[in-house]
């Protein structure tokens, strides 16, 4: 691994770039839902309050950390780092400057599935380790919700893989040159967005973090640095899932490129990627603001009786399209 790759991994378009994107996403989320609800949203820190998530992060990180007496200190200390690592590694596989991510592997789509599962597992572990009454209930709900949305999530991610006949994100992104998979497999895209809402614990699936029922969900007992990183991880997952949607369904960074020089192409690709990313982001913001929370039994029923059969049907259609 040479110096260029390391700096790409850590700076652009790697970790630093995506962390700032995560802050930007959080600000856009707050601003969009505020405008939709007839409020102003953050206005004080920076122009239009754009630095508010950054200020929040540093404020939380500088605060005293209180560790509950009965908690598992080891997990609480090292868990957030692992939890943060999941989307932080995942974003390295997202193609931004070209059709190749910084890291890539012929089977990296399967690794993405693992990362999504691992993220939820870490959330469950952290919730149990903090040993709070509300966090325990929240973890129960989190796991029930995970078991219901995992199958449609995997099916919706496999559909583009079948269409592209490739298990790598690079292969899927570059195979969409003529036709984006959102056109070929619109249901898979919709299912992916719905499952992403459940993965991100956003309405209507914010059941594990329903603040009017169980306070802060599985994050209730966290404070200080831990809470700052857990919150940052949630924003990073937000960006990660949107970027995954862009790569799998919206042709990745593809778009009309006028120049043949490599670095000019990269600039074009990065701009196309960002435009698509924010489009997906706004879709999620709008859905989450417009809906109310459902109950856990209703969510489970929805996923198993409607969304899973739909994504199975979409998968069958994709197989017919490819192997007819």
């Amino acid at each position: 691994m040479n110096l260029l790759q390391v700096s790409q991994l850590l700076l652009f378009p790697g970790l630093t770039f995506f962390v700032w994107l995560a802050f930007l996403f959080e600000w856009l989320d707050r601003k969009t839902s505020a405008r939709m609800q007839g409020r102003l949203g953050p206005v004080v820190t920076g122009p239009f309050g754009i630095l508010q998530p950054v200020a929040d992060f540093f404020k939380l990180a500088s605060k005293e950390e209180i560790i509950p007496a009965h908690s598992d200190t080891f997990v609480l200390r090292w868990g957030p780092a692992l939890y943060f690592a999941a989307p932080a590694i995942g974003i390295a596989f997202i193609p931004v400057l070209g059709f190749q991510g910084i890291l890539n592997h012929p089977l990296d789509l399967l690794f993405m599935l693992f990362i999504l599962a691992f993220s939820t597992l870490m959330a469950a572990m952290l919730g149990y380790a903090s040993a709070g009454r509300f966090s325990t209930i929240a973890v129960g709900r989190l796991v029930v919700q995970y078991t219901s949305y995992e199958v449609p999530l995997i099916l919706s991610m496999i559909t583009p893989a079948i269409l592209a006949k490739s298990y790598s994100i690079q292969g899927i992104a570059s195979a969409q040159g003529s036709m984006w998979y959102i056109v070929l497999a619109p249901i898979a895209f919709a299912v992916f967005i719905i499952a992403a809402l459940a993965e991100l614990e956003k309405p209507p699936f914010d059941i594990p973090s329903a603040k009017t029922e169980i306070v802060g969900g599985w994050m209730t007992e966290f404070s200080g640095n831990t809470l700052a990183y857990v919150k940052l991880t949630k924003s990073l997952s937000y960006v990660f899932l949107s970027a995954l949607a862009v790569s799998l369904f919206l042709g990745g960074p593809s778009g009309p490129v006028v120049s043949s020089a490599a670095y000019v192409q990269s600039v074009f690709y990065a701009i196309y990627f960002l435009v698509k990313l924010f489009a997906v982001g706004f879709l999620i913001f709008a859905i989450k603001t417009a809906l109310a929370r459902v109950r856990i039994d209703q969510a489970t029923r929805l996923f198993w009786t409607i969304i899973t059969p739909l994504s199975l049907a979409q998968l069958a259609v994709a197989i017919v399209l490819v192997f007819r």
Binding site: Q37, D206, T212, D297
Partner: protein, 388 residues
């Protein structure tokens, strides 16, 4: 599983012991008294007029209904007749308060169902009603408007057009919210069939207000025993037969429309004349009760005078006291996730209803204790606790 007294879904401290089978609720035991403020006792120390401002502070939402109940009860003891103009103004402010209370409730239901957008929108519209209240009475929340013998200030000139246009805006929004709460799938699955209450249960437990009307029993103090100008501008009582949160939504939205119509009619028909009569500071001896229809339901006032400058005894029964047992009944059979929305469904006001009763076996129903004895009893009580 304890629910409260400090819980994120309760804005006021109250304790509910939930007995669960898995996630299902089989029994609910409420325990009240966490925000008992001793207002009835404090009223005995204050003059008749000062008490208006005290009783208003029982509730921050239906404050005008409280002052209305109290002033009517006191006016019953005096021989003065309230001027007709004052009666109409009282009706206007009381109905504005009903609109603002119902809108507040609608927003809260949205909030507890995880539908924050509805909450923000409704509360923004509610501001208009509060502004109208401010324009008429000078205050948004504790209006201190009704006074013994009429109202404190005259109805302002040139406000009729503003009232009309603002109310038309509210009516339009209410129509929109009605379609919203019925058509929004994620919201309607949380409200339809949740918090069921049958007519028999309602007859047994005697809830008041919308909670009673949602079972199909059309009872409303404004119609049955009209006060203020309700005999001349009578409301149509809104009922529903479903007895769940969705029907409560329907009733309250219809009541907003009805109130809006009543205000507009009352403003049109507003008679000229004095807006208050001067009443002496001493109220003649006697006892009187009065009930008004607060936004949450029937509100009772009992006033006893010995002929002095302050009351001998005032007793308040706010609507939440009547409703709380019904709410516990509504919770049975539902899951833990439904508790906030069902509790909000009855529009609780725990601050209004908290009371304390001391029962000691072997003593008669009421006894008195001197301040010195009470102090000694307190010292002994805490000594005993420390040694335990």
């Amino acid at each position: 599983m304890p629910f409260g007294p400090i819980h994120p879904s309760l804005k006021e401290p109250e304790y509910f012991k939930l007995i669960l089978e898995g996630e299902r609720i089989v029994q609910v035991v409420p325990r009240i008294g966490y925000v008992h403020r001793g207002i009835e006792r404090a009223a005995q120390e204050r003059t008749w007029v000062k008490n208006i401002y005290l009783f208003e502070r029982i509730c921050g939402i239906c404050s005008f209904a409280h002052s209305l109940g109290y002033t009517h009860a006191v006016e019953n003891l005096t021989a003065f007749e309230v001027p007709k103009r004052a009666k109409y103004i009282r009706l206007i402010v009381a109905e504005l308060e009903r609109i603002h209370s119902h809108l507040l409730w609608l927003g809260l239901v949205g909030h507890w169902a995880g539908f924050d957008t509805l909450f923000m929108w409704v509360w923004k519209d509610r501001e208009r009603v509060l502004d109208l209240e401010e324009a008429i009475t000078g205050n948004r929340v504790h209006k201190s408007y009704s006074t013994i013998g009429g109202v404190r200030m005259d109805f302002p000139d040139g406000i009729a057009a503003k009232i009309k246009s603002d109310l038309e805006y509210i009516e339009k929004r209410v129509d929109y919210y009605e379609t919203l709460v019925q058509s929004e799938e994620t919201f309607s699955v949380r409200t339809k069939g949740v918090g069921r209450i049958t007519q028999e249960t309602a007859r047994k437990l005697c809830p008041v207000g919308p909670l009673l009307r949602c079972t199909g029993i059309a009872r409303d103090v404004r119609v049955e025993d009209p006060y203020a100008a309700y005999d001349e501008v009578p409301p149509r009582v809104q009922t529903s037969n479903d007895g769940d949160i969705a029907s409560l939504l329907k009733i309250r939205l219809n009541e907003i429309r009805e109130s809006s119509w009543m205000i507009k009619t009352a403003v049109e028909r507003l008679p000229l004349g004095p807006y208050k009569v001067s009443v002496p500071r001493v109220v003649p001896q006697g006892e009187s009760t009065f009930h008004v229809e607060a936004p949450r339901g029937e509100l009772f006032y009992f006033v006893k005078s010995k002929g002095g400058s302050s009351p001998e005894r005032v007793k308040v029964r706010s609507s939440t006291v009547a409703n709380i047992l019904t709410a516990t009944e509504m919770l049975k059979g539902h899951t833990l996730a439904d508790v906030p929305i069902v509790l909000t469904g009855m529009d609780p006001c725990f601050g209004c209803m908290d009371r304390i009763s001391v029962v000691e076996a072997g003593k008669p129903k009421s006894w008195s204790i001197s301040g010195e004895d009470l102090r000694k009893y307190g010292i002994e009580y805490y000594k005993g606790r420390k040694s335990r």
